[in-house]
Structures are given as structure tokens and as C-alpha cells.
Symmetry: C2
Subunit: 591 residues, 2 copies
């Protein structure tokens, strides 16, 4: 194949016995048996055993003795059957070994900061600092391959459907909207800045105006948030958009993509169609807009059971327009103390309290509040919740939003599988147009370019109006979201009006985009899927960092290269900017 | 297909006659023939004629009359044969038209800033400001498609060869090397900066250390240079690298990529193998390391013709170690004044002068200097240059580098085709390791991680030592470059030493990278191809902006969005930076 190898070592099988081969790779393990050295040689294809007998290898014995883990070597030798007692049925190459007749050490390795063998743990800071060694581990190498495979599968589906891949700019204009922009100072216009894109949203809509009709891009996006464990300052999304498209066209395309990715990465067939659930139903049954439907434990409304109850906590809540709802958490084997802890947790999640009930063998319910409830109410709970002996029923009475969010969280805590062996995709549809912003005003639930189902409804009842937007959810994680866009500048103006954005403000923020809409914009719709999250779930990883080749830490640092860093003043001068004196002062104080 | 269309209009043929279809697209042209309106309807597939007869279309006549160019419409009707006199053999859909029975105006268009019809010119500033209209033009739409096709072809070749696509970070550490870095201030580490990558060079080498073995990426890169007409601050390259690879492995892969791209974009077969030429030969024959070999006019050395000449200008040059070389520019039909102009141009290019000779019908040479030359010298020139009557021979006598560069430039000026109908790929190999930097010292000809052919040669004669690097050239443009990399930290240290970079400096600049080389780095080699340049040549475009969806102007501005722009002080505060007072002062003065 190349001057360094005739074949990949990991592909050798019994059928290769007798062939002379040249292999190149890394010493994964080295054992010395009475002067004969057995090496597990690793390359991108896997591992094969090579045997270095000093009598056959014309290399100084010192070289043989000096071989250590992660040396990069080239060997030539003949493939032979392993002695029966040495065969390893767990290894693809386990029937054979290579009797080496020539050894070249291509490069040596210093003492390793950690062993590449995955049985040895290493802390993440160290793994990131020596990412090039970390990526040699089977698990990480498999993650890199899976990521490449997933992206290839996405592309194949979209290429077959005549999508154009178009690269939108990454040095864009900063818009004072949403999350913080990352800025790039301009040298040719000192004191001015580009922004790195949070998404290609407006550019892909411009491409629709431009008549591209079918667009996709595997796009690098940037988000300057305070880091959470599963966020990165730069991330990758599959971004797509279609003209003369409606919601169904988007969802069907996404379904084809999901099926191909699952097929190529997991080797399994995704049942289709992917179920759809309205936002309202998801909130009622699961207390979240990204339900994990791999398990039941659904939220049940007990309002009708407790209509007219004399139990003051429930009666008061219902009278105030709140809700009494519950989940049947099954047999959690909780002691009294265990339940007390759950109550505390529910309070930590924002509930005023939590009522628990446990099904007894005789069909009755044991609960601290049982004495305040009527027999009808207790049997009503048993029936509504399908209580079996041992089952724990957890009831929250509070404002509707609080009940949903607390029970939704408890449900995940008590029932969510700790792996992603099973995959349950779900589309959430019929999101509201607006949500309450922290300041009490209305904010777009998706973004302000999302089409309302009905402009009249949006104007007459903005709080409940439905939008033409949708999310894709996998195992309780939001993979991405999309919408039918507004293509009529009049509708766009009305959305801004309801949002309290004046025509002047809209013009100054998005004027160039609003103008584009005025030149024969086709109806269009699209979506964006987070590649990092999707691949991490497919690979059964808890953190997206495990499927990124060179991620940053939670403070945005790269322990390998030392980014970000201090730069020379001359560079800043050219850009017309300077580090603030108080920040510099902080440096000299050693902070 | 969707609720807006049953078929793409541009695909309709005689075989569709009689079918009812629904089409969606844009009004490309509109003609009113006695109240019946003929519309050329354009969509991504092409154009088809649709006929709106007010008697058949249940839309207000006002709507029909109001239809203007670039309105976005949906029509339903029956495909019918055009009257014979109206058939248009130049149009794929020219045999048919659609008799419309229903019209929906999906969106209207304001008065256009320029006509989309390409027969109407528009200046580039306006085209960029309304790029979404500019991209509707056939030529621009074809360029976008070609770019997508080219990238898809590259991926297909590499996917079939088991390359992994890996995304390297775009927020990296700034290294005080080479071109200026574009900087991104960090909010979590105020006063510190990321850099945008000039290329993924070091990360792809780390991937080789990590055992990836075959890597590629269509990578966005950044270069903060003063803009030239064919440069952009962000650009795209196909970046690839392989372990256990040598130069031949890289060139063979590049050849396969080039052939597939040409096949898919141009529909033609690229003759293989792609010729290889040494740097030394290219400089001698063409005076450049990126020769356009579509035409001859090669540089010929006349040193042996003029050995012992009495013509002082030549004799002096040769005695001083310079060269006397010439091109036969063929019959340029130049007058005396025309030659005088060429002499001036040669001087403008840095030559002390230019000697011209023209072949006469009788086989003699006419030249202002003929009287200073012997008959043997004149016939020597005729023979060496293969002069035919009318041919113009242009001779430059100067330092070797000047002679090559001036004749190379004149050659292009006088002979280079003004289109890219023919494609001539070429590999230039055996580049020198170092070149003279403007300050007189040595600088790496490629980059400091390029392997020398021989470490001994590099140390003993650094000025002439050959490196294992190579370029790919197409029609006189450098498409990209690559090299076998240094995988031995000892060799790397010696290269730094020859470059005059101390171990300390090397450690502070590249310490993290040099450390990585110490953990069993495999031999590796790679390349990067400029996608923008390649696609622009394939599409016969002179400027890469024509094949970029949303390029910047030469001052790095985007006339569409207004990027870059001024940002709010609060944003800068968070980043620990500020615009310099003198720059702000400039603003308030209205600059």
C-alpha cells in the first residue's frame, strides 16, 4: 500500500497465513518471554500480535529491549498460525501472529503521561492536555469514526435529494439579539467588529430568497454562554432549509436522515415514522418539551379525583387554578427517610411540597396524608395511577407549570435509563409562538422569523397562539429545532409589533434581512440538528466532549495548546483596540 | 412533491403533454399579448413558459396585470404543446407550455435594484448588496451548484479511501508566525484572545500523532492580509493528511481527487498521470513555480550563444554570473512603438532592459542591437529560439532571478489564454527547504514542519537543500501545497536551529506541538487545496468572489449585512477590551 506497510495489521486472518507482510503501527502492549518479545501492534484497523525473536531480527538487542508502549514501528515478517494455546478468540486477529524478520523503530515515545490502555483511568484535564494520546484509545477512536460516519450519512441522504451544500460566511454582522456574539476585531476597519455566527439562520433564509431551494451545511456555530457541562463555545450543526416546503417536508427529510445515521452508526433500523407529539401533550404527560419516552411514569392529572376534596392543600391549589398531578414511580424500594429526601428534592425543584403514597399488598394506600383523604379519593388515586403493591405515587399540587416541571424532573431522576442502548426519536410540534420572558414581556419561543399558524390568532391571543415550529428529541435530549419561516414581510412586521419591537428598531437590527424578504421570497422551512449531541447519544456518551476531537474545558480553555492567550500589543494596535487597564492591572497582580 | 408543486417546471417535456401540473417559481419574464400573459417561470431546474389567459384564470384581472419580474408564484394548469411557430429549440422545455387554470401570488417583489436577466449588467458593489438577487442569475446559480458538486466529488474520493472527516477547532491559540492572525477576545478570560486558524496544519498533524492515519476536512480558514483581488479574509480549503505516507501517496490521492472533480464539474476525463516538474525546471523553463503549461513560449538560455560576445551588456552580465535568456513570443504583430512599450514594461518588472529581435522573411534577425552582434550569435539565436519569420524574440540579461521573473511575466502577458476552457494540472516537486527572507535571513519555503530531503544537506548547504514539498498548479495558478512532515523531534530541532530559532523560542511558540512529536509520531504527509480557486477556474471565472455565496469586498466589508460594525460598549466591557480613544475620536470626526 505504501512504503511503510503492505497491509493493515488488524485485518490479518487465518487466510493470510504464509504471506510475508509489512506492518506499521504502535506498540500497544509488550511482553518479554525469555528474550522473545511479543508485541500487540495497533493501527487504525485494530491490533495484531507480532513476535520479535532476537535470533530472527537483525536489530541490536538493545533496540528490542528498548521497545516501549506507543513506540511507532514498522515490521516485516510472515503471518503464521498461533500455537493453539495462544489463540485468542476475542480478537479478530486472534488466530494468527507475525514472526518478525525486520524491525524499524519509526519513532520513540517519552514516558507517557497516562497509559493508552483504557483500563487505566486518566482525569479529563490530563486527557485534554494530551488529547493526541487520549484519541489513541479504542473508545475515542471509535467516537471519531462514528462522528465521521454520522456526518457522511447525513450528507448522503441530502445529496441524493439534490440539496446544495452552501458555505455561509462565518465573519458576520453582530446583532444585539439572543445569546452573546463572539466578536472578531477588523484590522481594515479599526474599532469595528465581525461576529462569529450563532447559526446560519439569516443566511440560509437569504439562500431561499436567492432561489437555492434546497440547502444544507455542516456548520460551525459559536455561542458565548457560560459553559454548562454539555455546552461548548464552538459546536457543529447540520443546518438545512427548503423552499416551497411545509412542516411535513422538513420532518420527512429529518426522518430519512435520522434513519440513515442510526443505520450507519448503530447498524439498526429506526422504526418509522418517528412519532409526533404536540407541545401541549408533551408538557401535560411528561412536564417537558423534550420527553424521554423510553419509559412510562407519565404524569396523570388527579384534578377530577380531588374535586371537592377536604384536604386543604389540594383544595386550595385547585381553587386557585393550580393542578394536582402525580406520577407512579413504581417500586423504588424507598424507606420513610428516602421519601423525606424526595420531598426535599421536590422543594429544591420549586414545589411547595410533595405527597407520596405507597401501594400496600391489600390494595390500600399508605401515606402521611392518607388520614386527610376520603376512601373515594384514595381509591380514585389507585385507579387513576394504576397502583400495584409497592408502587410509589408522587403527587404535586401547585401552579400548573411548577407541577409539570417538578414531576418531569422527578420522573427523569427516578426512571431514566443510564445508557442510550435504546433510541426513541420524537418530534414535538405545535409549539407556542411566544413565551414569557424573564421581564414579563413576550419573547419568541423559537426565533422571531418563525411563522405563526394564524396571524389572527397571534394578534388576538398571543399567549396561546401556536407556531409552525417543531423540535426533534432523542432519549429526552433536544437534538434540534426548526420552523416554517415567515416569508411575508407584512407578517414579519406584525410579529415584531406583538413583540413590542418598533418598526424603527426592526429596521436598525434586521433592516437588510427585511429588505430581502421584499423581493419575491418563497415559502420556506428548515431545521438544524446538533451533531455533537446526536453523536454522543449514539455512542452512549454522557458528554459531548467525548465526541469532539479537541474540545475546550468548561472555562473555554484548551489545555493542549494554551488557547486563549495573551497577544502582543502591536497586534492590538493594528486592530484599534486595547486590553482595558484594569484587566492588565489584574494580570500584573498575578491573577 | 410538496403542497406548492407537483413537479419542477424546468423538467417538463413533450412527454408531459396532457398532464395537470402545479409549479412554483419566479417570474423571469412577462409579456402581455392582447391581455393574455406569457410568463417565463423559473425554478431551480430551469425555465418553462406558462400562459395566463384571463378567461381561464379565476384571479382578479388586476392580479394578472400586476405580475412583475421576480414575483414568486404558484400555478396549476395542463401541459400542452406550443404552437409550432412558438417552439423554442434552444430551451429544454421549448416544446411545451402550461395553460394556467389557477394562479397564487406567493409573494410580490419591490422594484428591483437590477434586473436578474444577465444581459443587464450591474456593478459589483450592488451585486453584493443584493446578493440574494445576484445569485438568482443563471451564471451564479451554476457557480453555486458547481462548488457543491466539486466538494461532493472530493468527499466521495476520500470517503471511498477510508479517510475520516475530522473537525478541528476554529478557536485556537495565536502563534506569532507568518501571516496575521484574526483574533477573538475571550469573555471568560478577559484580555485574552483566541485566534481563527490560518489552516488546520498543527491540528491535523496532531491527528496523525493520535493515530487517525487518514484525515480530511473541508476547512474554513482565515487570513488577515491586505486584500488582493483574488483573496478573501475567510476561505475554504480541502485539507488532508495521511500517516505512513510518502510524497507519492499524497500525489496519487490528489490526482484521483482532481480527476473526479473535473469529471463531475466539467464532464471530461483528466489525462493521468498529472505531470510532475521540479521546482528548478519550472523556474528555468517558465520563470515561476506555478507555470501555465497550456502554451509554449518557454524560456531558453542563450548563455552558450553569447559566450565570448563583444556586446557589452550581455558580456558584463555573464561575467557577473548573471544570465542571458529569451522567449520566442511568436508573431505579436508589434510595431517599433509596441516593442518600446514592452521594453518599458520589462523595466517596470525589474529588468535593466529588454532586447527584442524579429525574424525576417530572409531568415535574418532585425533588432536595435543587431549591429553589436556577430553573425554566429544572430544565427545562434535563430536556431536556439526556433525563429520563424515574424516571430518576436525577447531577451533579458540580468541576475538569474530577475531574468526568470521578468520573462515569466512577459510570457504570461503575451501568451496566456484569457479563459480556462483547457485545463492543465501540474505538480511542482523538489522545492527548496528555505528561501531568502526580505531581511536576508533564511525562511522556510513552505512551513517549518516540512521535512528536508536530507538533514545533512540541509545543514551543509541550506540555501540549495531540497525539501519534500510539492505544489499543485492548474493553468498557472497555485491550487495548493503540501509536504512530507517532520516526524522526528530531533530533525525539527535542527530545522529550527538552521532558521535561527533558539530552542527556547521554539519551546515558547510551539512547545505543545513539539511535545506531541515525542510520543511515537508516525511518518506523515499531507496537502491542502484551495477550493475557491479550483472552482473558479473550473467555472471559467477570473475572481474567486464569483464562486463564493457571500464574499466580502476588498476592504473586508459585506455590503449586504453591513459587517463589520460598531458594537455596544457593554459587550466590550465583558471582554476586558476597549476601542482605542484615538479610533473613537476618529469616529466622532465623522471618519
Amino acid at each position: 500500500m505504501t512504503k511503510y506497510r503492505t497491509v493493515h495489521g488488524g485485518t490479518l486472518r487465518a487466510s493470510d497465513i504464509g504471506n510475508e507482510v509489512t506492518l506499521a503501527g504502535w506498540v500497544a502492549k509488550r511482553r518479554d518471554h525469555g528474550g522473545v518479545i511479543f508485541v500487540d501492534l495497533r493501527d487504525a484497523s485494530g491490533v495484531v500480535q507480532v513476535v520479535l525473536n532476537p535470533e530472527n531480527v537483525p536489530a541490536p538487542e538493545e533496540t528490542l529491549r528498548s521497545l516501549r508502549n506507543e513506540f511507532c514501528v514498522m515490521v516485516t515478517g510472515v503471518v503464521r498460525e498461533r500455537p493453539v494455546e495462544n489463540k485468542n478468540p476475542e480478537l479478530a486477529t486472534g488466530e494468527v501472529e507475525v514472526g518478525v524478520s525486520s524491525l524499524d523503530v519509526l519513532s520513540t515515545a517519552d514516558v507517557l503521561p497516562f497509559q493508552v490502555d483504557e483500563r487505566f483511568e486518566a482525569d479529563e484535564a490530563r486527557r485534554l492536555q494530551y488529547r493526541y494520546l487520549d484519541l489513541r484509545r479504542d473508545r475515542m477512536a471509535a467516537n471519531l469514526r462514528a462522528r465521521s460516519t454520522a456526518i457522511r450519512a447525513m450528507r448522503r441522504v441530502l445529496d441524493e435529494r439534490d440539496f446544495l451544500e452552501v458555505e455561509t460566511p462565518t465573519l458576520v454582522v453582530s446583532t444585539p439579539e439572543g445569546a452573546r456574539d463572539m466578536l472578531v476585531p477588523s484590522r481594515l476597519r479599526p474599532g469595528q467588529f465581525y461576529a462569529l455566527p450563532q447559526s446560519p439562520q439569516l443566511f440560509k433564509q437569504l439562500l431561499m430568497v436567492a432561489g437555492v431551494e434546497r440547502y444544507y451545511q455542516i456548520a460551525r456555530c459559536y455561542r458565548d454562554e457560560d459553559f454548562r457541562s454539555d455546552r461548548q463555545v464552538e459546536f457543529t450543526q447540520l443546518d438545512l432549509e427548503g423552499s416551497f416546503w411545509d412542516q411535513d417536508d422538513v420532518l420527512e427529510t429529518l426522518e430519512a436522515i435520522a434513519a440513515q445515521v442510526v443505520k450507519d452508526v448503530r447498524g439498526t433500523d429506526l422504526p418509522r415514522p418517528i412519532p409526533r407529539m404536540s407541545y401541549a401533550e408533551a408538557m401535560a404527560r411528561y412536564g417537558t418539551d423534550k420527553p424521554d419516552v423510553r419509559f412510562g411514569m407519565e404524569i396523570v392529572d388527579l384534578g377530577s379525583v380531588f374535586t371537592g376534596t377536604e384536604f386543604r392543600a389540594f383544595a386550595g391549589t385547585l381553587a386557585a387554578g393550580g393542578a394536582v398531578r402525580a406520577i407512579n414511580a413504581g417500586n423504588q424500594g424507598l424507606s420513610r427517610a428516602g421519601f423525606d429526601k424526595l420531598v426535599e428534592e421536590a422543594q429544591g425543584l420549586g414545589a411547595k411540597g410533595l405527597v407520596w403514597m405507597v401501594g400496600e399488598e391489600d390494595g390500600s394506600l399508605r401515606s402521611p396524608v392518607a388520614k386527610f383523604l376520603s376512601d373515594d379519593e384514595l381509591s380514585g388515586v389507585t385507579a387513576a395511577m394504576g397502583v400495584e403493591p409497592g408502587d410509589a405515587v408522587l403527587i404535586v399540587a401547585d401552579e400548573v407549570e411548577v407541577v409539570g416541571s417538578v414531576l418531569g424532573d422527578l420522573r427523569l431522576q427516578l426512571g431514566q435509563p443510564d445508557n442510550h442502548d435504546d433510541l426513541e426519536f420524537l418530534f414535538i410540534v405545535d409549539f407556542p409562538v411566544f413565551e414569557r420572558a424573564p421581564d414579563g414581556g413576550l419573547a419568541p419561543a423559537h426565533h422571531p422569523f418563525t411563522a405563526p399558524l394564524s396571524v389572527e390568532e397571534m394578534r388576538s391571543s398571543p399567549e396561546t397562539a401556536i407556531s409552525r415550529s417543531y423540535d426533534m428529541v432523542l432519549n429526552g435530549a433536544e437534538l434540534g429545532s426548526g420552523s416554517v419561516r415567515i416569508h411575508d414581510p407584512e407578517v414579519q412586521a406584525q410579529v415584531f409589533e406583538v413583540l413590542g419591537i418598533s418598526a424603527e428598531q426592526a429596521e436598525s437590527r434586521f433592516g437588510w434581512f427585511l429588505e430581502a424578504l421584499r423581493y419575491g421570497t418563497p415559502p420556506h422551512a428548515g431545521f438544524a440538528i446538533g451533531v455533537d449531541r446526536l453523536v454522543s447519544i449514539l455512542q452512549n456518551e454522557q458528554n459531548i466532549r467525548e465526541v469532539m476531537p479537541f474540545p475546550k474545558t468548561q472555562t473555554g480553555a484548551d489545555p493542549l495548546t494554551g488557547a486563549p492567550g495573551v497577544v502582543e500589543d502591536g497586534q492590538l494596535d493594528e486592530l484599534g483596540i486595547d486590553v482595558k487597564p484594569e484587566v492588565r492591572a489584574g494580570w500584573s497582580e498575578g491573577n
